[in-house]
């Protein structure tokens, strides 16, 4: 039982991060029908930038403040990066066959990884602990401050995003563009701006996720965005790609499934497989969803785009 609660909280923490990244995938897919495979690497850039900004400040300023500064700089950098990627790599291909932007996305992913390797090297970077590492005993499980902060921040961010999309002028324009960009344009919506805004918002979420994931695992690496991106993509598919609520649900579910799987796989297989097999669960989920419910948990049947 203790293992269960412990893994549930670990899963919620990682799941919140998956959810934030999955939102970036699903928002772009909803509007452009594009799977932005470079999104995971934007997360990595966020983590790396935050690390570079915070390291010299550790001990100079109080930890939480350093974390905040790192986060803000990472967010701004990623927003600029997301804006630029859309402008340079995807916009010229807006009317090209679907495969072209997809391959371009993979190309951008490789470019970002190589760029990060040149700037930050191939090594694993330890991420300084910036929060007082207070442990809390919750129903027999050990939860630290960072985990609580990650879960709470992700929750607040997701509520804010839902309000933005459902209650504001920009959100309305985003939903209209997602349904039919041509008609939205004829109704006076500047769809290029809306698409830029989508990338910028998604990239800000990615930066936040990058800071969270590197703080949580205490490590950052130039290729960390690859697996994280794949898992977040899986989460988006699990929830129903294009559906914001689905991305949140899918992210959290995937995090919990993975954590519970990792927690019990050793006992269940008599020690043959260990928790290092945890990545397997994400892809089992992906396969099961694609076979049995390709439109995802909250997705509707894929409708034709006019």
């Amino acid at each position: 039982m203790e293992t269960f609660i412990q893994q549930l909280f670990n899963g919620l923490t990682v799941g919140s991060i998956y959810a934030l990244v999955a939102l970036g995938y699903t928002m772009v897919y909803g509007i452009l029908g594009l799977i932005n495979f470079a999104h995971g690497d934007v997360v990595m850039i966020g983590a790396m930038v935050a690390l570079s900004v915070t390291r010299p400040l550790v001990g100079v300023l109080p930890g939480p403040l350093v974390l905040l500064i790192g986060l803000v700089v990472a967010a701004v950098t990623c927003m600029l990066l997301g804006f630029t990627i859309e402008r340079v790599a995807y916009r010229p291909l807006r009317k090209a066959p679907r495969l072209a932007p997809l391959i371009t996305a993979i190309g951008i992913s490789i470019v970002l990884q190589q760029l990060a390797m040149i700037i930050w090297g191939r090594g694993y970077h330890p991420v300084p602990t910036l929060l007082p590492g207070g442990m809390h005993d919750l129903l027999g499980a050990q939860i630290n401050d960072l985990q609580l902060l990650i879960i709470a921040t992700a929750a607040v961010t997701m509520v804010a995003l839902m309000l933005l999309v459902n209650r504001t002028r920009l959100g309305r324009a985003m939903r209209a563009t997602a349904e039919n960009p041509e008609i939205a344009a004829l109704m006076g919506v500047n769809i290029n701006r809306v698409i830029s805004a989508t990338f910028v918002i998604g990239s800000a979420l990615a930066a936040l996720a990058g800071v969270m994931v590197s703080s949580h695992y205490g490590i950052a690496h130039y290729s960390m965005g690859f697996m994280l991106g794949l898992k977040a993509f899986t989460a988006a598919v699990l929830g129903g790609i294009g559906n914001l609520g689905g991305a949140m649900l899918g992210g959290i579910l995937l995090g919990v499934i993975e954590a519970l799987g990792a927690g019990y796989i050793g006992d269940l297989t008599g020690g043959v497989f260990g928790s290092n097999y945890q990545d397997v669960f994400a892809f089992i989920v992906l396969i099961v969803v694609l076979v049995f419910r390709p439109s995802g948990l909250m997705g509707e049947r894929v409708s034709e785009r006019a």
Partner: protein, 257 residues
């Protein structure tokens, strides 16, 4: 009367098909201008070229003397030109109210920052958008369907919603593409009242219609397209008697019926 929309020498080719050939017309302030023609005559193509959905091969379009930009549909909306569609194209998964609120987009300005900080200006503007959208829904007669998803509305109500959404952009020229298509007699009668009301409120209307009776009864002037060419333009009574028009609709040799 002064001229609101002027189209000069519009041509458009699809592969080997000359869909529009050197079509020119002018629409005056405050008039209801009809565009008719047999199936495939190029009416909708002409609409799509005017509203920038298709790029034209040749020709000029200007609204109030200013040329309409090419390849920027949202700028055409901002210039004061709105349209509805022959095959209804609403934002199906948004409510009736939200559909109309999207139409207010270009006439309002508040950005993300205002929305996040919930500044007084942003909140006030959002309320104004909502109020105007509700007024428009009442105006077209579907004020009771405000919070229904667009796809749950009846066919006639969807047409009304399209008109309300177009009106939300504050058009000076409203182009209606076969608004009566698929409507029954009472719906058509209600539509006619609505269009007359729009004109009374100072909106110039370009009407594409198959329902010749509706066009002849409503329009001040009518142009006839056939095989992508304008074959007539006149007041309805004259167009009705025009031999070229009769030939286009009924074929050669049948004569006036």
């Amino acid at each position: 009367m002064s001229c609101l929309l002027e189209a000069r020498g519009i041509s458009k080719q699809f592969g080997g098909v000359q869909a529009l050939q050197d079509v020119s017309l002018t629409i005056n302030h405050g008039e209801i201008y009809g565009l008719i023609g047999p199936n495939g005559a190029g009416k909708t193509t002409f609409f799509n070229v005017l509203t920038g959905l298709y790029a034209r091969d040749a020709g000029e379009v200007s609204l109030d003397g200013k040329p309409l930009p090419l390849g920027k549909p949202h700028a055409i909306s901002i210039a004061g030109f709105a349209r509805t569609f022959q095959n209804i194209r609403l934002f199906a998964n948004m409510t009736a109210l939200e559909n109309v609120m999207v139409g207010r987009h270009a006439r309002t300005a508040s950005g993300v920052i205002g929305a996040i900080l919930r500044t007084a200006a942003a909140r006030g503007e959002e309320q104004a958008i909502r109020r105007r959208a509700e007024e428009l829904l009442h105006y077209v007669g579907i004020g009771d369907r405000t919070h229904d998803l667009a796809r749950h509305l009846s066919y006639g109500d969807q047409r009304r919603l399209e008109i309300a959404r177009a009106l939300a952009t504050e058009p000076r020229l409203l182009a209606l593409d076969e608004p009566a298509a698929g409507m029954n007699a009472s719906e058509t009668a209600a539509l006619r009242t609505l269009i007359e009301g729009l004109r009374a409120d100072g909106i110039t209307i370009l009407l594409i219609e198959h329902d010749v009776k509706l066009v002849m009864g409503l329009c001040d002037r009518v142009a006839v397209l056939d095989y992508g060419r304008k074959i007539a333009e006149d007041v309805p009574e004259q167009v009705r008697r025009n031999p070229a028009v009769i030939e286009a609709y009924l074929g050669v040799g049948v004569g006036a019926a």
